[in-house]
């Protein structure tokens, strides 16, 4: 142990000397365009390190524990208020930044971050259903695809194991509001889910592939992933459930204990530039909330039905927050019943 500590001190001294010109970004895996990072490194002479996380819960747990060394984190909107509540984020003065005005008006004042005090948009998307239209040609803008599975799709349906999203989709399908604590309704939701499960094939991730190769014919899925699947297999289509679907946004925030605050601010401003925001979208195939970035996007993205929400279905999209603890407990209990 002594050795560890001595080398610890030596290394701490060594790294401190190089601290200038660095930036540590903590982002979802396979989500950051290397071209974007390269461009930023060249423009600002900063050495950027990307570290991956696989879920909001892991990211939050690690950041809360401290000693991680990250400057920037990219939480989903439903987690931003949790970070703020735990006093983990700093206010970098975003409205004063040069590129602030590029944020689309509807993303400037958002529930999870009024007046953009803490965060700037990274990407946003929706959670709906992906359907292989060669197996089913009925209406796909409905959660009935996986909750009252049409005969053609029985045994070929997947549900991504995102508890919060799946529960909220089911609650909305049964006529409730996300994060409801109405127990009678939740009982119906549970019975519905348990009944529907017998028609499912799996509860798994990786739908870009399995929808592409026809292993799975329909799935609760994200729009960007469905988009990627459609590029491989034109039969794949994305549906926005009219009973309610989920809209989410991942946001870039600077941590309170960041070591490289100035570089982090530079990065925030950098990604609000339309040309750079387009680079973000080009990589992961989600929209970004920056005005004028469409111009720089690849042709197939501008009119993609997975990205452009049809007008008549816009109202069905819901931003869900993280549910309160009591509701969370109910959700987990139902989820356990479902998967036991």
């Amino acid at each position: 142990m002594k050795l560890v500590f001595t080398s610890a001190l030596a290394l701490a001294a060594a790294t401190a000397a190089h601290a200038e010109g660095e930036l540590n970004i903590y982002n979802w895996g396979n989500y950051t365009n290397p071209k974007l990072i390269e461009k930023f490194e060249q423009e600002h002479d900063v050495d950027v390190t990307i570290t991956d996380f696989d879920s909001n819960t892991t990211a939050l747990a690690k950041i809360e524990a401290g000693g991680h060394g990250f400057d920037i984190v990219v939480p989903t909107h439903s987690y931003v208020q949790i970070y703020v509540g735990k006093d983990l984020l700093m206010k970098p003065g975003i409205p004063e930044m040069e590129n602030y005005d590029n944020i689309s008006d509807n993303w400037k004042n958002v529930d999870w971050d009024p007046n953009r005090e803490y965060t700037v948009p990274w990407q946003w998307g929706t959670t709906g259903v992906a359907v292989n239209t060669s197996a089913y040609d009925g209406d796909i803008n409905t959660s009935a695809i996986w909750l009252d599975t049409p005969e053609e799709l029985v045994g070929k349906v997947n549900v991504v194991p995102e508890m919060q999203d799946v529960m909220n989709l089911a609650v909305m399908y049964m006529g409730g509001e996300p994060c409801t604590d109405d127990r009678d309704l939740l009982r119906e939701v549970r019975d519905k889910l348990v009944e529907a499960k017998s028609d499912w094939m799996s509860m798994d991730y990786g739908m870009t592939e399995k929808m592409s190769n026809g292993d799975v014919m329909a799935s609760v899925n994200w729009n960007g992933s469905t988009f990627r699947a459609r590029l491989n297999n034109p039969d794949v289509a994305y549906g926005y459930p009219k009973e309610g679907y989920i809209v989410w946004m991942d946001n870039v925030a600077i941590l309170k204990d960041a070591q490289n605050v100035e570089n982090a601010k530079l990065f925030m401003n950098f990604i609000m530039d339309p040309e750079n925001a387009a680079l973000i979208s080009e990589f992961a195939r989600y929209a970004n909330g920056i005005d004028g970035s469409e111009e720089y996007m690849p042709e197939e993205m501008k009119s993609a039905p997975e990205i452009v929400v049809p007008d008549e279905l816009k109202a069905a999209g819901k931003f869900t927050s993280s549910c309160p603890k009591e509701v969370q407990d109910l959700y987990t209990a139902i989820w356990t019943d479902l998967q036991k």
Binding site: D54, G69, G206
Partner: protein, 316 residues
Amino acid sequence: MSDRTPPRPGPAPEPRRTGTDSGAPAQDRGRGETKGPDRGAPARGRGRAAQARPFNVTTMPGFATVAILAFVLLYVPIVTMVIYSFNASDSVALWGGFSTRWYAIAWENDFVQEATIRSLVIATSAAVIASTLATMAALGTTRRKRFRGQTLIYVMINQPLMVPEIVTAVALLIFFAAIKTATGYTGLAYLILAHSAFCVPFAYLPIRARLEGMDLTLERAAADLYATPFQTFRRITLPLMAPGIAAGAMLSFVISLDDVIITEFVKSAGQDTLPTYMLGQLRRAVTPEVNAISTALLVLTVLLLTAFFLLTRKRG
């Protein structure tokens, strides 16, 4: 030498012969120091009496068939992986024609290369540390009179096996985060420490299995011949337990290479390993680039091993 192939029917030559054949001793080095006692110790004169038998005593019916079949099956998924590393499409599960583009992409991708090297560094360190400490502990806890606390040691050593990874991961996250904040050091040592710790039982159990029942006759004989304890250990005990240590070190190495969850929770900024890199991809889409990296690694391993075997062969 081919006459040693077990399933051979009919009268087989004495099984032990190869060990004393000319040329064979040097090749023995492939197994480290086992050569000394193997040849010198009458107690281990494996099957010397076999000469008289009508069949090879080391043969068990069907064993070779099962073993060969299992070896083949072991490589089926690996061959699949190699094939898909040459996939032209974006997918690890949808064949889109032959292409080497993923090798080009992996070659360009510093992130994944650094992650791979980091994985190997951690796994090598963990294997060395864990098998060294496990060897000492195994010597301490086997082949001696029972002593107070022996069971406690046994339980402590095997403890990392007993809880799912996520639990150790959360515990270490909190413990190490406190140290990281206190010392300001966020280097690779935490990952190596964590990996070494959970590798200890994987090294300890095979070594112990080797030691148990290995009698003390040879060591006593050495001591009778005025060998110092260290000489006895170096020349007798260590060579005898070498296969156990090798097995333990190999297991530790692959266990460390595979670890995802503990690494995910312990890593600091810029410390992604290949598994955590893949875990990050899991939810979205896994690209064949990792197949390309793994194939390259596989080829490198096989080349190194071949070179190693050729070299040791030449020395004889």
